[in-house]
Assembly symmetry: D3
Homo-oligomer: 194 residues x 6
């Protein structure tokens, strides 16, 4: 059962081969995490697309205004679980564990986003995210009112919906490229840091 998959079905661009701006930008991430997340190596095949991807990602994920960063990752892990996206579940599951300091949350949310027990606010976030992820055409004002009743503002609803939408894209790109998660992600946040 050895995994000999390449980073991406369509090849990978190493950090040193990226255009200057991307090398700097991705390099900053790599320095912080200790490795270059494979999604950047795969998408760097198309620098313009990678730049837009990074911009969209940062605009939605690097913020504590409204939804907390942990809640943003919760949306990613729940919808990536519903979409069966291994790269996003493994990579963002790691970040969710780090943000929450809960070593079990990612596996529980990703395996069964439909039934996992959460706080009422978290449940409302995940419920809305799952609707947008899997049946957005029939999203009703009444379902938005449920989210509002759980305390979400319209800006937070926008965040939940937009993060879900961004990872609807991201999950499909990962499936298209058969994207392999970096091995470092699998263990991150699972053990108490001493």
């Amino acid at each position: 059962m050895t995994d000999t998959r390449p980073v991406s079905r369509f090849g990978a661009v190493e950090l040193q081969d990226m255009p200057d701006d991307l090398r700097e930008r991705v390099g900053a991430v790599a320095e912080k995490s200790g490795f270059v997340p494979n999604v950047f190596k795969a998408l760097a095949r198309r620098p313009r697309e990678l730049r837009a991807f990074l911009d969209y990602h940062d605009a939605l994920m690097d913020s504590d205004d409204g939804l907390s960063k942990a809640e943003r990752e919760l949306v990613v892990v729940a919808t990536s679980g519903a979409n069966n996206c291994t790269y996003c579940v493994v990579a963002h599951g790691a970040i969710l564990r780090l943000r929450t300091k809960d070593p079990e949350i990612a596996d529980r949310v990703a395996t069964n986003p439909y039934g996992v027990e959460l706080s009422p606010r978290e449940r409302a976030i995940v419920d809305l995210a799952l609707i947008v992820a899997t049946e957005s055409a029939s999203l009703t004002e009444a379902e938005l009112d449920d989210a509002r009743a759980a305390g979400l503002t319209d800006d937070e609803i926008w965040d939940v919906g937009s993060i879900t939408a961004l990872f609807a894209m991201s999950n499909r790109l990962a499936h298209l490229t058969a994207l392999r998660p970096n091995e470092e992600f699998f263990l991150m946040g699972r053990t108490p840091r001493s």
Copy 2:
């Protein structure tokens, strides 16, 4: 049956109220088409997100390298039809009619992307797009080989998959905001231009 829906459930930003760079960029589109497409007014609520959206869109849709522009719109209309996204079907259906000079193609593709009769190359493009749109988790190498057998290069496969992924996001944003198509789109490209 009068339609009194606002542009977006979360409000709209008029062109003159957008930040300078967006006013210029969206203004250029408006000048060309004669009106400001509602998607820009809705997403301008979040300028950073709109910028990234425009960048991603332009990187994938404004190109004739590999897939033709008409084929790119074919992917958008087929998958937006499968996702029941009225804004994208109406707006990109208009563009598809203009690009193909075929007044029937958009209605046929959007209503039944699964069965619409197309050329073998177009059929391969739509088949792959539908898999990525609706069941990307089980995308197999054999399905990619079917696309290759129909003549698609790996770069064209990337285009089909990435455009589908971008509109997986776009369709969900339109549903989230209950985005209203501009009335101009409904009639564009339906009559022979004299």
Copy 3:
């Protein structure tokens, strides 16, 4: 992307080749609309079946008793959209536009019958129709009570359900025969009549 499909996968019968009663009956429709709708040419392969089809259709669609004619077409367009039936969406979409004088309603209803904004009465009609179209086995008395609460009488409920049932048949016949919509339908009712 030229459409070279025949009228029907199983051949077409021209008006002059139909049995006398059908030639007269279909001819009357043709005189009024200016062309012979392709569904008649396709079904005329089996005159007995076409007669029954016409009878059933007229009994349910040519009436203003209870549901208005526009509401009857609304049921057809919504359920044909849910069933991805291009012929019925294009042909009855045209009639719906004529009946409502709303050039956008058909595209909006057919593309996303699940989420399209409608008046409460129209919403109740479409909700019931979609249940009968896609999950009639679990239709509950409570769902009928919802329709009644929106003001529908039992006769109107019967109409909604029966029209949906008739087009469950009709949509499948159109798919079976790969029925091609007449080009005239695509543009009907889209422009204000001067």
Copy 4:
């Protein structure tokens, strides 16, 4: 667990209260079978619709030209099973048992039309019927060729598709009216006739 359901949720018309032509026509059926099938009592609420229903039914079911009568009932039982229609399964299951003199066939086909073991010709008939019943939008020429390869002529394919379409309507009418099967049907054809 006593069944106290009425014939139909919307009332029933007894034979003597039907218009003359229907009383005669339905009466002839009743004389032959020994009772008035409930579907006629329920649909007689709308005489014009019942007439068209009878005409369509007779045009497709009372024929041995191409598909045998047993094969026609096989289509009805398989698709009504897939649609979870109790009236049609019980009533046409009885007829299928009578036509085939096989007391087990109806229960086997209705309970699991997807997997029931059949002769290759029967399997081809049921496979095509299930596609038309449940996913007709994506019916392909290749699937019709599978039916042709199993020996079905285009007229027989039309029969399979049209009978399936007719019962797509019929099943929905039965669900709409909560139609109760006559108790006589349950036992018909289950025991060898001495």
Copy 5:
């Protein structure tokens, strides 16, 4: 349409060839019903598995403590119908008829478990069973409260859920082995015993 299927796709073990304990245990059932139910002949290929199967079955089905025996069979027939399992529908449909003395109940429940009219308690039992059978991942405390509101105790809820779970296994074993129902089951309980 003759049925020449073997008992099981993987062969059958006759009573006399079973290990002593199973021959005695299955023999006792056979003596009571007059024949050896085919499920035992099929599973006897693996004596350890058959023993565990019998133990689990008896623990859940041979009890009147809480759910009545008829209600237990109702769960089996409803979920086996939803799972399209011919063996279980035919065999347990027979037992349900015997337990209820209602010759119609099994066909009605198995054909349309979603819509069959039942008493409120029976409806609550079947509703819960269908959730566990088809979408258990999203079972909510609120759905259990619905069952409690209909009068079910937690022990009865356990029974409904566990019987459903046992037949989720059983239905799949029957499909795996293409298990043939004994002909005796088809007629049992259909006629009033004189």
Copy 6:
């Protein structure tokens, strides 16, 4: 996001409170693994059912005859992932990691059993398991022949099908009881043993 869920929604039986035979049997497992797996505490509410569960489990999982023990766990993790069962994914994912010494395999298989890259034999095993788990009614002889072509014997096919069936039950019991995975499982087999 603290997890304060109890072991089971219906209470838990501690080891010392179990009947003698179960205390001994479950105690032996606990001694080996260092803790009492929660599934036993939850099912011990019904000792007869737990005994049968243990017997069935041991008959199918404690064997290297045909399928290897790792392959048996692969079936459990793949189908429990498809069924969104957190307990079984977490617990058997741990065992799969131990059996394969591959720290990534469980997350990859459980998150996306449909697309995970595997050896041809493993792919055939998982493909068959997924059919039995999610659409067993339409299992065809041709699909079994695919498994045979990949080298599986009929006994191995039986194992794959029966293990899938057993966990169809097990997953539903875990969902019914809202079964909480022991925290020990989450980390087992993730780090190289020194």
